[in-house]
C-alpha cells in the first residue's frame, strides 16, 4: 500500500533543461561531421517523426521502442507525452516495439525506460508542440507568446482558434530533433505526477485480447517443440510415424537436432509432442556441475578479472577485521505464462509477433538464423506474461519461425510447455561474493575489500558477427555459436552491479570476476548482480555494525554522506518505528537494508520483519516497509506497484528459490520442483514514495529487490543472533544455523 507521496523540493525543471542549452551552445565548436549527442533515446533516433505523429483529428500517436512488460511503462510514457503536448491522455495513442514502425531503443530492461525513453518522448513532444504553436502564430499573424494552448487547441487573445489536426497538415515533422525546446516546468496536479489508471488493466481483467498468447490469425496453426533431455545433446534419430498418425498433424519439422510439430489444433500439437518425445533418440550432451559443490566448481572455471573501484587514503589503524562469503543459486524467471510467439513466412518475408524485450535485436538474430536481409524480417511486440528479464521470449520466436518456414503462408502459434520454460530459459546466474573489512577503534570502517564471481548477466540477442544467441540456432543442422560472454561495464555493471558500495570508506577495492565458462545457460534476471551484491554488502554492513557495537541504522548513516540516501533511510526507519539497537527475541526480529539501484537510479531503503519457526526452520516475512525516491515521479501508483512487486519477488527468491539439477540435467521442471512464495506467505508491504520534482525521473522496477534481501537477512540475524549467508534461506539451512 502506498502510504504517502512526499514532495521534497519544488525547484523548477532547471538542471536537465539547463544542461541541454549548454550542450547546444557548444555545438558549433564541434567538428562539422559530428552531430551533437542528443539526450536519452534521441541519441540513436534523431528524427522527430520517428517519435510522434499528429493525426488529422488532432490526437497524437507516440512511437516508442520501449515495450509494456506489465510494469506500466506504456501508461507512464503516455502521461509524459500528454503533458508536453497539452493533450488529454485519452487522445494519446501508443505504438510500441514494432521494427516497421517505432524507433530502435534496444531492450526494455535495466529500469531505463523512463529515463531514456521518457526523456526522448518528453523532448520530442515539447519540440512538436513548439512547432505547432509557431505554425499557428504564422497562420494567425500573431506572436507565439500571445497564444494559449489547451487540449490540443491553439487560441489567440482575439478568440481565433486552430486545432492540432489542421496545424499538423501544414507542418512537416520529418526533421531532425533539435532538442533545444525546454520541456514544460513540472507543475503539481498535472497529468505527470498523478496516479492515472493503467491503460492495460481493464482488458486484462475482462478477458480482452491483451497478450501475444491471444493472437488468432486466419489460417493459424499450432506448434510445439521437443527439446533434448539435456544441454547440447544431439538427436540421433526419431521415428515420426506415431506423431504423424495423430489427427491434425500438418508437419513434423526436423532440422538437425531441432525438432517440432505443426498441427491444426493446439491439443493435437501437445499430443504429437508427447509422441515425438517418446520416439526421439538423443545422445551426448553436457554434464552439469555437482550441485553440492556448485560455487567451488564455478570458481574453478576460467575468469576475466577487473578492479572496478579502488580508493586509497590514510586512515586510522585497523582494530578488527571481518570476512564473510555470500552465495546465491541459479534462479529462474519463472514467468506464469510460458513463452509464446506467432510467426508467419510469406513470400520470403518473416513476421513474428513476440513478447521479446528487444524487437530490434531479436530481428537481427532471426535474420541471421534464416540468412535473410534484416529488411525481410519484422518483429512486432505484443505483451506476454511478465518476464523479469531474459526468459524464453526470444527463443520461442525462433522456434515458431522454424516451424512457420515449413508451412509458408500459415501463421504458427507456439507456446512453450511448462517444462520447456523451466528447463531451457536462461537463468539468473549463480554467484558468490566475498567481503573483508576492518574497523578502527572507534568502530568506523577504514578498509573494504569486495570480490564477486559470476557468469555474464546478458546473453540476449543480438550476438556479435555471425554468432547467434537464440537457443534453436545452436541445434539446427548448420548451427551457430552463441556470442562470447561479456560483462556490462561500470557504472551500471552486470555481475558487479551495485558491487561498489555507496558508503564512504577511505580505502576500498572492488574486484569483478567474470566466469566465462557457463555450465548452465544464463542471462539477465531482474536487477542482475545487484540483488546478490546488495544482499552481501548490506548483510556485511550489519555484521560490521554488530562488531562495532552500533545500531545498524546509525552505523550506516555514519558512513553515508549522500543526502538522498540518508533521506530514504531516515524515512523508512521513522515509518517502521525503528528503535536503536533493539534485539530480536529468538523467533522475531527486524532488519534494514539500503541501495541506490545501479548507483545511478532509484534510492530504496527497506525495513523487514521476520518470524522464524525454530522447529520446522520455516521463515516468514510478515511485514516490510520501504521508502523509495526515484527523482521526479511520473505515476506514483505505478511506481508503488513496481516497488511492492520487487519486494515480494525478492522475498520469494530469498526464502525459497533455486533451480534444481543433477549431473544429467535440470530437474526443476514444474511448480513443484521450482517453488515460489504463495499468497498466504507474502509480506504486507507499506511503501513511502519521495518525489523530487527538480531531479530527473529514474527507473525503479529493479530497485527494491536487493534491499529487501538484505533486510530479510539482517532481520534473521537480529532475531536469532545467527547469520545466513547462503541463499535461499531454506528450512534446512535455518535449522543448521540455529543448531
Amino acid at each position: 500500500m502506498t502510504e504517502a507521496v512526499v514532495n521534497l523540493t519544488r525547484r523548477q525543471f532547471g538542471k536537465a533543461a539547463g544542461a541541454l542549452v549548454v550542450a547546444f551552445a557548444l555545438a558549433p565548436r564541434l567538428a562539422v561531421a559530428q552531430a551533437p549527442k542528443l539526450p536519452g533515446s534521441l541519441a540513436n533516433n534523431r528524427m522527430l517523426d520517428a517519435w510522434l505523429r499528429i493525426n488529422a483529428d488532432g490526437s497524437a500517436t507516440i512511437f516508442t521502442g520501449k515495450v509494456e512488460l506489465g510494469q506500466g511503462i506504456s501508461t507512464a510514457l503516455a502521461q509524459i507525452a500528454a503533458y508536453e503536448l497539452d493533450l488529454p491522455l485519452a487522445r494519446v495513442e501508443m505504438i510500441s516495439g514494432d521494427t516497421a514502425q517505432t524507433p530502435d531503443e534496444g531492450y526494455t530492461s535495466g529500469s531505463q525506460s523512463i529515463e531514456s525513453g521518457g526523456t526522448a518522448i518528453r523532448l520530442a513532444c515539447a519540440e512538436a508542440r513548439a512547432l505547432l504553436v509557431d505554425h499557428a502564430a504564422k497562420r494567425l499573424g500573431l506572436a507565439a507568446e500571445e497564444l494559449n494552448v489547451s487540449e490540443g487547441i491553439v487560441a489567440g487573445p482575439d478568440g481565433r482558434k486552430l486545432g492540432y489536426g489542421e496545424l499538423a497538415a501544414g507542418l512537416d515533422l520529418h526533421r531532425e530533433v533539435g532538442a533545444t525546446v525546454a520541456p514544460k516546468p513540472q507543475a503539481r496536479q498535472t497529468i505527470v505526477g498523478r496516479s492515472v489508471p493503467r491503460r492495460d488493466i481493464s482488458a486484462k481483467v475482462t478477458g480482452g485480447a491483451a497478450y501475444v498468447q491471444d493472437i488468432r490469425l486466419p489460417g493459424m496453426v499450432h506448434g510445439r517443440v521437443v527439446r533434448p533431455p539435456r544441454y547440447d545433446a544431439r538427436l540421433d534419430n526419431v521415428d515420426e510415424a506415431a506423431a504423424r498418425a495423430i489427427p491434425g498433424v500438418v508437419a513434423v519439422v526436423r532440422d538437425g537436432s531441432f525438432l517440432g510439430v505443426v498441427t491444426e489444433r493446439e491439443e493435437q500439437a501437445i499430443k504429437a509432442r508427447d509422441a515425438l518425445m517418446r520416439a526421439a533418440k538423443w545422445s551426448g550432451g553436457a554434464e552439469l556441475p555437482d550441485p553440492a559443490r556448485l560455487h567451488e566448481q564455478l570458481m574453478a572455471l576460467p575468469t576475466q578479472s577487473s578492479v572496478v573501484s579502488e580508493k586509497q587514503a590514510a586512515g586510522s589503524p585497523a582494530a578488527q577485521t571481518l570476512e564473510a562469503t555470500y552465495t546465491r543459486p541459479y534462479l529462474a524467471h519463472a514467468s506464469i505464462g510460458p513463452s509464446c510467439a506467432v510467426a508467419e513466412f510469406s513470400d520470403g518475408r518473416l513476421t513474428v509477433w513476440t513478447h521479446s524485450q528487444g524487437v530490434f535485436p531479436l530481428k537481427r538474430d532471426l535474420a541471421k538464423a534464416f540468412k535473410l536481409d534484416a529488411d525481410a524480417v519484422r518483429c512486432v511486440h505484443a505483451e506476454g506474461s511478465g518476464c523479469y528479464g531474459h526468459n524464453g521470449a526470444d527463443d520461442v520466436a525462433l522456434d515458431a519461425a522454424l516451424l512457420a518456414r515449413a508451412v509458408p503462408g500459415r501463421p504458427v502459434r507456439l507456446q512453450w510447455m511448462r517444462d520447456d520454460e523451466f528447463a531451457w530459459e536462461p537463468y539468473g546466474p549463480a554467484m558468490l561474493a566475498r567481503a573483508k573489512a576492518s574497523l578502527d577503534a572507534n568502530g568506523r570502517i577504514v578498509d573494504w575489500v569486495y570480490e564477486v564471481w559470476s557468469n555474464t548477466h546478458s546473453t540476449r540477442p543480438a550476438a556479435p558477427g555471425e554468432n547467434n544467441n537464440l537457443l534453436a540456432s545452436w541445434y539446427v543442422a548448420e548451427p551457430s555459436q552463441p556470442g562470447p560472454p561479456s560483462n556490462i561495464p561500470q557504472p551500471a555493471g552486470g555481475g558487479d552491479r551495485n558491487a561498489v558500495p555507496l558508503y564512504d570508506f577511505p580505502n576500498q577495492r572492488v574486484v569483478n570476476h567474470l566466469i566465462t565458462g557457463m555450465p548452465l545457460r544464463v542471462s539477465a534476471l531482474r536487477s542482475l548482480g545487484a540483488y546478490v551484491n546488495v544482499f552481501a554488502v548490506e548483510s556485511f554492513m550489519d555484521e560490521l555494525a554488530v562488531a562495532a557495537g552500533q545500531d545498524p541504522v546509525a552505523f550506516r548513516l555514519a558512513h553515508l554522506s549522500d543526502q538522498r540516501a540518508r533521506a530514504v533511510i531516515e524515512s523508512v526507519t521513522r515509518k517502521a518505528g525503528w528503535k536503536a539497537s533493539e534485539k530480536g527475541d529468538g523467533a522475531r526480529g527486524r532488519g534494514i537494508a539500503f541501495a541506490k539501484y545501479k548507483n545511478l537510479a532509484t534510492y530504496v531503503a527497506v525495513v523487514a520483519e521476520i518470524e522464524i519457526d525454530r522447529k520446522s526452520g520455516r521463515v516468514r516475512v510478515p511485514r516490510a516497509f520501504a521508502a523509495a525516491e526515484p527523482g521526479q515521479i511520473i505515476n506514483p501508483d505505478g511506481l508503488a506497484n513496481q516497488i511492492e512487486g520487487g519486494m515480494i519477488q525478492s522475498t520469494s527468491w530469498t526464502l525459497r528459490e533455486a533451480v534444481r539439477f543433477d549431473r544429467n540435467g535440470i530437474t526443476s521442471r514444474d511448480w513443484n520442483g521450482y517453488q515460489i512464495l504463495t499468497m498466504p506467505e507474502v509480506p504486507e508491504i507499506s511503501v513511502m514514495l519521495h518525489n523530487r520534482t527538480g531531479e530527473k525521473p529514474l527507473g525503479a522496477g529493479e530497485a527494491s529487490q536487493g534491499p529487501m534481501a538484505g533486510a530479510i537477512a539482517n532481520a534473521f540475524a537480529n532475531a536469532t543472533g545467527h547469520r545466513l549467508r547462503d541463499l535461499p534461506f531454506s528450512p534446512e539451512r535455518v535449522q543448521a544455523a540455529l543448531g
Binding site: 506489465g70 489508471p197 478477458g207 493446439e266 506464469i336 523479469y388 511448480w671 499468497m679 508491504i685
Partner: protein, 155 residues
C-alpha cells in the same frame, strides 16, 4: 467429433475430441481469452473457470466429462463497459502488473465470495493459496477481493 457445452449461458458445439482439455476449446474454438495456459498441470491456477459455480482448472478438465454443467469464464462475469464487482475492484485497486494470473485470481475469488460473502483477509489469502502470481501483486489482489466483497454486500 463434436461436443456440446454450455458456456456463459449459451450452448456451443466444438469440433474436438472428448479428451481435449477445456482450456484449448475455450481459447481456440470459442475465442475466449480470459483463461490462460500457465502449466497444463493444475499447479498455477491461470486457467481457472467455474463449473456449476465452482472453480476448476480448465487445463486438466476434459470436455467429454463436463456434460450439462454450466461453464462460466471471466468473460461471463462482465465486460469492460459493464464489469462485475470483482473486475471493477481489480481495476480500482490497479491489482495487476503483467496480469497473466489475474483471470485465475478473479475466478477463484468469485467461487470464494459465492460461498463466503464476507471473508477476512486471511481467508482470501488462503483461498488464493494455489493461484500463483510472479509479479508480486498479491497485496493488491487481496485488497481487490475484499473491496469487491464490500461492494457486493451493498447491492
Amino acid at each position: 467429433m463434436t461436443i456440446s457445452l454450455k458456456v456463459n449461458g449459451a450452448r456451443r458445439s466444438v469440433p474436438a475430441e472428448a479428451d481435449t482439455p477445456l482450456l484449448y476449446v475455450l481459447r481456440n474454438d470459442l475465442a475466449l481469452n480470459g483463461a490462460k495456459f500457465g502449466c497444463g498441470l493444475a499447479q498455477c491456477g491461470a486457467c481457472t473457470v467455474l463449473l456449476d459455480g465452482r472453480a476448476v482448472r480448465s487445463c486438466v478438465t476434459e470436455i467429454g466429462a463436463i456434460g450439462e454443467a454450466e461453464i462460466t469464464t471471466i468473460e461471463g462475469l462482465g465486460t469492460v463497459d459493464k464489469p462485475h464487482a470483482l473486475q471493477q475492484a481489480f481495476i480500482d485497486e490497479q491489482a495487476a502488473q503483467c496480469g497473466y494470473c489475474i483471470n485465475g485470481m478473479i475466478m477463484t475469488a468469485k467461487d470464494l465470495l459465492d460461498q463466503s460473502p464476507h471473508p477476512t483477509a486471511a481467508e482470501v489469502r488462503e483461498a488464493l493459496a494455489q493461484n500463483l502470481c510472479r509479479c508480486g501483486t498479491h497485496g493488491r489482489i487481496v485488497r481487490a477481493v475484499l473491496r469487491a466483497a464490500q461492494n457486493m454486500g451493498k447491492t
